[in-house]
């Protein structure tokens, strides 16, 4: 573990202040315990577009942390894991750490929604069970080919990988998924990250491990277009979302939250400039 420098200490202080405030807000909404889904929040209902909970954010900002709503197999509603606490807490910290005009509210949208392309940054997690419909495949492909950027997070082990990979091959039969070098500029966009940490879910951490299933080694992989432009960054065998969500918990190691925030900020800044 690297020693904390001044910059990192400052980052920690800001994070604690930020997530503390965010946690108070989310806690008031009824999300106090470390569960995958927030109490009173039914992810399945959000598939229904007529649900008024899902609407274009009221305020206008340059950046919206946008979460992809996708169809999954037996684990329906997986897209909503950590939602919306992780999104809100993360964006609260982002707004404090960098000069960005970003909404600190969640913003979820379906992959087959024509408004998807209004949000050039997209986040999706728990994709081990993803089962894209033809409309979702078309929507996602057009989104990424037009210039959108997708961050994948929080899926573990070889079984989930094979399913995810198969689904992405339906989106991009021509572009393979490749391992990303730690020297890739995305890992240096704002914070210099020399290694990819395995960020555990809070449950796994409590159980004394950082891994899940047979996902022992974290990987950062990517899908590049024919011009070498990164369209999708895939965080496999790691859970950045949980680190954002539980950053304020004293028992959750700060190093993982710090790393997750730094990775997330790097992704955002990179996606907005490349």
């Amino acid at each position: 573990m690297r020693p904390l420098g001044i910059g990192r200490i400052a980052l920690v202080v800001v994070m604690l202040a930020g997530v503390g405030l965010a946690a108070l807000r989310v806690g008031a909404a009824g999300g106090g315990s470390p569960q995958r889904r927030q109490r009173g929040f039914n992810a399945r209902e959000l598939i229904d577009q007529r649900n008024p909970a899902l609407k274009t954010p009221a305020s206008r900002h340059e950046f919206y942390f946008t979460r992809a709503i996708y169809n999954s197999g037996w684990r329906g509603g997986a897209w909503a894991t950590d939602y919306p606490k992780a999104d809100r807490q993360f964006m609260t910290v982002v707004n404090r750490l960098i000069h960005i005009d970003a909404s600190d509210r969640e913003n979820a949208i379906r992959l087959d929604d024509p408004r998807l392309r209004k949000y050039p940054f997209l986040y999706a997690l728990e994709v081990g069970d993803i089962a894209l419909t033809p409309l979702e495949i078309e929507g996602l492909r057009d989104y990424l080919m037009a210039g959108g950027f997708l961050v994948i997070d929080d899926f573990w082990g070889s079984w989930e990988w094979s399913n995810f990979e198969a689904q992405m091959r339906r989106v991009f039969p021509e572009y393979p998924i490749v391992e990303m070098s730690p020297n890739h500029p995305i890992f240096n966009a704002v914070y210099r990250l020399d290694e990819i940490l395995q960020v555990p879910s809070i449950n796994n951490y409590w159980n004394g491990r950082t891994w899940e299933q047979d996902g022992y080694v974290p990987h950062a992989r990517g899908i590049f277009d024919e011009k070498g432009r990164l369209m999708v960054v895939i965080n496999w065998n790691t859970d950045l979302g949980d680190a954002w969500e539980w950053a304020e918990r004293p028992e959750y190691p700060l190093k993982f939250s710090t790393f997750a925030v730094e990775m997330g900020i790097n992704f955002i800044v990179y996606a907005m400039s490349h």
Binding site: E62, F63, I98, L116, I268, V269, M272
Partner: protein, 759 residues
């Protein structure tokens, strides 16, 4: 015909009356007759005053007038009126005959006969034609003229291959050479298609001063019955490789109204643009806008050609060649953003494939923390926005995004203004909450440079503005190169209207005087894209905060290139024409073999201050590879301006590479090209220039002739010419007009009497 009638009535040609002085040569008999006539006149008055009969006073007055008039005509004749003329003494004077030896004399516009045929028929043989008539009276001296003027002994040896017509120079030369002899005049045989750099007006001054008349014989038609001409081509002298060009061509024609013709652009034999054009009414110029891309680097000789039509009288003027230098250069643009914005991503993507543009991004991510992209090295812009002029002036373009004015020091703000005003760079400000008035730029030097008016109250206003606007072109924007986003102007205008709306947070409604609006909101309320020239550079305002919508909107096809096309053209135009530290110019980029090429260079230091003490050398490489090094001297007329000249007889492109250095450090280098080639200007506007030739003649006291009237030239010169002359008198008393007048008056009096019953 009128002249013939005049001559019949007045016995002599109008020229005789114009040149002669009127006088009387009455003898004692004539004066006696005058006294008798006066007496007769008085008697007439007395008689008509007394004898009334049944006549009225008016009748008597009329009859008196008629009788007196008749007496007056008689008296006039008896007084022996004469015209006194100055007539040249035969064989005592010289006459210069200057014959046009240029290519335009080969044009066969006289029923298939070339213009030079008149010269052959009238001047090649001494015994016949006009030459014989002139030689009876004058000693003839022949000259030929085209680019140069020379004495000729044998007119039959003229080749009519001259590539230029310098009429003024010809007159001057002939006048100088014949200055020591009694010169009656100069005869110029030409079509008048003068294409010298300077008109003949100045050359006439010494000729006018010495009173030498110039007689002009105009050959050829004043108008061609059927001809199409590529009259004008306007192309930039230098462009960046890959530039999408819009070039204006002007075509004129006669006799092909309503016909469809094809216009083509060729680059080294390869067709790069083609368009069909319907010709307007005769005489009306038609402007054709040709679009093509400058693909190949280096000096390009472009040919602009209109298809030859049946029965065209001149076909050599259907094509024009123009030299354009396509630079393989990489223009640098600094794009400064105050926060992460998607505009950065999509602008970079739009220009990424353009090898001639380098867009370096400096993006503030946190306080004193910047993301630097596509910079020149690890230390480039490491300290943030440039703090010295030398550092900023390395760029040709500057784009300011969402960065507030307070981020800059006062000196940096002034530096940005100087970047445009002094350095000649291009500035583009994008829309955002930290731009324009909202960003606190009102009242700063940057505001002076911008083409739009900033509301000084906006910076402190609590009220935020937001509008979603659809964009359309203005009249200027419909044709401007930067806003062409489709294959044709109309398609481009239509495409702008189809694009999804974008958002603005800077309510700009007014542009400054002299600025041009290219895009506006569909409701004509807001300025969307405007520019102005400012000092040596230009500034643009694009108060849109999310043009990336034109790439990402659901209505835009994934492979649509509209957004990319717009940004590529906009950035290229931003840096177009921005000077470097060494800028070279040729006063003439096309000269004839042996003509002088003048090279001028403007040299500046890294702050773009002019330097007068640099070491400047021009290296000229001719087509065969021979190299000539020429030092360039400061002209002393303008700061930073250096000059040299060279001549070459070898035809082809000559590379002129200018290097400037100071204290052993290279300041910069520039390359231009000179084309040495025979001029093709003889075939353009090659109709006979009657007004010019008439003016030459009138201003010098000479006369203008056509081949049909040229036979009277010899007679006319006798009386109009100068030199050794003698006075000559011509009687006027026996003019037929006088007899006619007398008879008319007498019979009128008789007829009036009969009519009134007074006989």
């Amino acid at each position: 015909m009128l002249e013939s009638v005049f001559e019949f009535l007045f016995k002599y040609r109008p020229l005789i009356f114009a040149e002669g002085d009127f006088s009387f040569r009455a003898s004692w008999a004539g004066y006696t007759a005058l006294i008798a006539a006066v007496g007769a006149g008085l008697l007439t008055l007395r008689v008509y005053a007394r004898v009334r009969g049944n006549s009225r006073p008016l009748d008597r007055a009329i009859l008196t007038a008629l009788r007196l008039a008749a007496l007056g005509v008689l008296v006039f004749c008896l007084l022996r009126p004469v015209l006194v003329l100055s007539s040249v003494v035969p064989q005592q004077n010289f006459l210069g005959v200057i014959i046009d030896d240029s290519r335009s004399m080969q044009i066969a516009d006289q029923d298939g006969t070339p213009r030079l045929q008149f010269v052959r028929d009238n001047f090649e043989t001494a015994e016949i034609g006009l030459r014989a008539a002139l030689a009876d009276r004058f000693a003839l001296r022949f000259f030929s003229f085209s680019s140069e003027t020379e004495r000729v002994d044998a007119v039959e040896e003229l080749a009519y291959g001259g590539t230029r017509s310098r009429l003024g120079q010809a007159l001057e030369r002939a006048h100088e050479e014949l200055a020591g002899v009694p010169l009656s005049g100069l005869v110029v045989v030409t079509d008048g298609a003068d294409n010298a750099d300077v008109g003949p007006g100045e050359s006439l001054m010494p000729i006018r001063a010495s009173g030498i008349p110039v007689f002009t014989i105009g050959l050829g038609r004043e108008e061609f019955e059927r001809d199409i001409q590529m009259s004008r081509v306007e192309i930039p002298r230098r462009v960046l490789k890959g530039a999408a060009l819009v070039v204006d061509l002007v075509i004129t024609h006669r006799g092909y109204r309503g016909e469809m013709v094809t216009v083509q652009v060729e680059d080294d034999g390869r067709i790069v643009g083609t368009q069909d054009v319907r010709l307007p009414v005769d005489g009306d110029p038609e402007t054709v806008r040709m679009r093509f891309t400058a693909q190949e680097a280096g000096p390009r000789l472009l040919s602009f050609r209109v298809s030859t039509q049946p029965d065209e009288m001149v076909t050599q003027n259907n094509v024009r060649h123009s030299l354009m230098v396509v630079e393989e250069d990489r223009k640098k643009v600094l794009y400064f953003e105050g926060e992460p914005r998607f505009e950065v991503k999509f602008v970079r993507r739009a220009v990424a494939d353009d090898e001639n543009l380098q867009v370096s991004v400096l993006q503030r991510t946190a306080e004193n923390k910047f993301l630097r992209l596509h910079v020149d090295g690890p230390d480039d812009l490491a300290g943030g926005f440039p703090t010295t002029r030398a550092e900023l002036f390395r760029y040709q373009g500057l784009v300011l995004g969402s960065i507030e004015a307070n981020h800059f020091t006062p000196d940096q703000l002034q530096m940005i203004a100087d970047f445009v005003n002094h350095r000649g760079g291009g500035l583009l400000m994008l829309g955002s909450q930290r731009s324009f008035a909202e960003g606190g730029y009102a009242g700063t030097p940057v505001a002076d440079v911008l083409p739009v008016v900033l509301d000084t109250g906006r910076a402190d206003s609590e009220e935020s503005f937001f509008a979603e606007v659809s964009v359309e072109t203005t009249r200027a924007g419909a044709t401007h190169a930067a806003t062409q986003i489709a294959e044709s102007e109309q398609a481009s205008v239509d495409r702008w209207q189809e694009l999804p709306p974008v958002t603005m947070v800077n309510p700009i409604k007014e542009v400054k005087l002299g600025a041009t609006t290219l895009l506006r909101s569909a409701a004509d309320e807001f300025v969307v894209l405007a520019f102005q020239r400012y000092g040596a550079g230009k500034s643009l305002a694009f108060p849109v905060q999310d043009s990336w919508t034109w790439q990402m909107h659901a209505d835009i096809a994934v492979d649509d290139q509209t957004h990319e096309t717009f940004w590529r053209r906009l950035v290229r135009w931003l840096v177009d024409g921005v000077p470097d530290q060494v800028v070279t110019e040729l006063l003439q980029d096309r000269v004839e073999p042996g003509e002088t090429v003048t090279v001028l260079a403007q040299v500046s230091d890294t702050n773009f201050e002019e330097m007068n003490n640099s070491l400047v050398v021009a290296t000229v490489t001719d087509p065969s590879g021979k190299i000539l090094e020429l030092p360039m001297a400061w002209t002393a007329e303008e700061d930073g301006e250096y000059r040299t000249t060279f001549t070459s007889t070898e035809e082809g492109f000559h590379e002129v590479r200018v290097q400037a250095s100071s204290d052993g450090n290279l300041l910069g280098e520039d390359v231009v090209y000179a084309q040495v080639a025979a001029s093709d200007s003889e075939y353009y506007d090659s109709t006979m220039r009657a007004p010019l030739l008439q003016r030459l003649a009138e201003e010098t006291g000479g006369r203008f002739y056509t081949p049909e009237t040229a036979l009277s030239l010899a007679d006319d010169i006798q009386y109009v010419g100068r030199g050794v002359t003698v006075a000559e008198e011509r009687d006027l008393w026996d003019m037929p007009i006088l007899l006619l007048l007398l008879v008319t008056l007498v019979f009128s009096e008789w007829g009036y009497r009969r009519f009134k019953g007074l006989a």
